[in-house]
């Protein structure tokens, strides 16, 4: 778990290739190492079915992490992502139960619901100045209540194949990779779009400014409220998309989304996102999500009972932040 510390840090001695390798975010080395372990434990992983299935299962966490990192960069947390995932699955099954042909309409409605949740979160945090942890935990409780009320406590709807297409369908006989799950395509498209927003637009720059120092950003004329709301909207919308994929994977239940927000935060933190804002990268967060999924895969292969995954995740979460803090303090003192 201390692997990020062992890889060369920012203060590696100068020297061509080595310096450049040292500047690569440690999360990528960690990912390569874990994938190597998986290949050793199960060589089938190198077959298209092996790695594509891995990517398919990682897609929801990767999308959630790519959305969560926007809120982390703005200096907050979004703990309502998991509840949005649950609401998406339950809401879609109820809306589609009566009319399976309305898939496009239902997905649009769910995305609109995601935007609404994000706007409310953003306004409560930016306008009412409620700490994001309380605001989004309150949202989590509220959305959980809405999901339970809506489904009458026991969800009995089902999701038609038109909806499950996104999570379940695989294109066959694709050149090079043989099979190509739709979920992987969705992951690539969403993460690329989020990467572009974060690293190639003005909004991304303003987001970093707000997270780094909200007061100076405000004084410099940054529309802080709009930027914060934007970050929460991207986070909630990514949760809706992740929910659509998860709806295709598994059945309808009230606990599909439980704990997903923590996985997303852990992934972003492994990717080097700085808590309390100012620093976050979409690519590294997605890599963090893949690290988490790879780790779960390894633990699964080693036969670790499922609840112990939580223990490992908790240890990783704390260690990742501790290592990041330690590195920052050390480089600050140097």
């Amino acid at each position: 778990m201390s692997a990020p510390a062992e890889t060369p840090g920012r203060d590696t001695p100068r020297g061509g290739l080595l310096t450049r390798l040292g500047r690569v975010n440690p999360v990528f080395w960690l990912l390569i190492a874990l994938l190597g372990i998986i290949v050793i434990l199960s060589p089938n992983f190198l077959e298209p079915f092996g790695y594509m299935n891995f990517l398919r299962r990682a897609a929801p966490i990767a999308i959630l992490a790519a959305g969560q990192v926007f809120v982390l960069t703005s200096g907050g947390f979004d703990l309502s992502q998991g509840a949005v995932v649950t609401l998406t699955v339950i809401g879609s099954s109820i809306l589609l139960g009566a009319n399976p042909d309305a898939t496009a309409f239902v997905i649009a409605a769910m995305l609109a619901a995601g935007v609404t949740v994000g706007v409310v979160n953003g306004l409560v945090v930016a306008k009412l100045k409620v700490p994001s942890i309380i605001a989004t935990l309150g949202m989590m409780i509220t959305l959980g209540g809405i999901a339970l009320t809506w489904s009458g406590g026991a969800p009995r709807g089902y999701l038609p194949d038109t909806f499950r297409f996104f999570g379940r369908f695989m294109f066959k006989d694709v050149p090079l990779v043989t099979i190509l799950p739709v979920a992987v395509l969705v992951m690539i498209a969403v993460c690329a779009a989020l990467w572009w927003i974060m690293h190639r637009t003005n909004f991304g720059k303003l987001l970093h400014a707000v997270g780094d120092n909200p007061r100076s950003a405000l004084l410099a004329g940054v529309p802080v409220t709009k930027v914060r709301v934007g970050a929460f909207v991207l986070s909630s919308v990514s949760a809706v998309i992740a929910g659509i994929l998860l709806g295709g994977f598994a059945g309808v239940s009230t606990d599909v989304g439980i704990g997903m927000e923590l996985q997303a935060i852990t992934a972003a933190v492994i990717g080097g996102a700085r808590l309390l804002g100012g620093h976050g990268a979409v690519g590294a967060s997605v890599a963090g999500a893949l690290v988490l999924q790879a780790l779960f895969t390894v633990l699964n292969m080693l036969g670790l009972p499922k609840p112990l995954r939580d223990v490992v995740q908790g240890l990783i979460l704390i260690s990742a932040v501790a290592v990041a803090t330690w590195r920052r303090r050390r480089s600050g003192e140097d």
């Binding site: 009412l128 409620v130 309380i134 501790a322």
Partner: protein, 318 residues
């Protein structure tokens, strides 16, 4: 400390409003039996676990930290207590000792991770929550063991018509108040929470104070777990999480006038916050609002209450 008077006043105003709404609903729905003193007492009795947890949460919030692992620690404590006791009165003492030891250990780790490793307290305690719940779910998946009859006195016993648990909560609050008000360790909590830099210059070890606050908080959560084991007659790995004790204890502390930024507030406000919450809950009950709708309203009220307080402080929220 001029602001302190205002922060003690507002919780009382909120309490009066909550009481008025409760009375109005009771009269409007023609259920005056809910307005007796006995009923108000039993109403507070339903919030004992929240009260014990919230008194502990007050300590960590006063040092500008937070503890999101209390709900999971409550589950661990309740399950551990009933598992060790297993219906045998002679095992009560070792069980209570073991639970409190686990509580102290969890608090020690939380405190050291926050103060020494400088990990953001939200993340540190969320990570601890995952670890505790994972270990618990890996070992137990249902009600485990049983609590002997004599231990159920903690939750069901009465002295002169007053529930033992209520006396315990009041005693705990008085002790916590005395500790914060009259001891050096207590005043250090305010110093470190108010201005960590100044406290350091004054020669106070922030690490020690933060660790102490976390240990006290976790001990309270462990005690709340003991109480729940006594009330439910057995411990189950989901009781802490089902009670949303993490968020509710934080909300109650904030409603009681303790600043999330640390350094200001106290345990009496927290107790008033607990009363406000149990009044809101009872109002929902006598108004016949169903459980799920209640959950929605509760989420909204928590956020609204915190917003109401933060509106008065000029600090930027994170």
């Amino acid at each position: 400390m001029a602001g302190l008077r205002l922060t003690t006043l507002i919780p009382l105003v909120l309490l009066t409003v909550a009481l008025a709404i409760y009375a109005t609903v009771a009269i409007a729905t023609d259920q005056p039996q809910f307005l007796t003193f006995d009923n108000l007492l039993s109403l507070l009795g339903r919030s004992i676990a929240l009260g014990i947890t919230a008194v502990g949460q007050t300590f960590v919030i006063l040092v500008a930290s937070i503890d999101l692992s209390v709900a999971n620690l409550i589950s661990v404590a309740a399950v551990l207590a009933s598992f060790i006791m297993d219906g045998d009165p002679s095992r009560m003492f070792p069980a209570v000792c073991a639970v409190l030891a686990v509580g102290a250990l969890v608090g020690l780790i939380n405190g050291l991770v926050v103060a020494k490793l400088q990990v953001n307290p939200l993340i540190a305690t969320l990570g601890m929550a995952l670890i505790l719940q994972g270990l618990l779910s890996a070992s137990f998946n249902n009600f485990a063991g049983a609590v002997p009859e004599s231990f159920q006195g903690f939750a069901y016993g009465q002295v002169l018509g007053v529930p033992v648990s209520l006396i315990f909560l009041l005693g705990l609050t008085v002790a916590a108040w005395g500790f914060l008000k009259f001891t050096r360790a207590g005043s250090n909590i305010y110093s470190v929470g108010g201005n960590a830099e100044a406290a350091k210059l004054a020669g106070i070890s922030a690490t020690k104070v933060i660790v102490m606050a976390h240990v006290l908080c976790s001990l309270c959560a462990a005690t709340a777990g003991l109480y729940l084991a006594s009330r439910l007659r057995s411990g189950a790995p989901w009781i802490g999480r089902d009670g949303v004790y993490d968020l509710e204890s934080i909300a109650v502390v904030v409603i009681g006038g303790t600043a999330l930024a640390g350094g200001r507030g106290g345990v009496w406000g927290t107790l008033v916050g607990v009363m406000i919450f149990s009044l809101i809950d009872s109002t929902f009950n006598i108004a016949g609002i169903d459980a799920f709708a209640k959950q929605i309203l509760r989420g909204v009220i928590i956020v609204a209450a915190v917003a109401f307080y933060v509106a008065r402080s000029k600090r930027m929220a994170a």
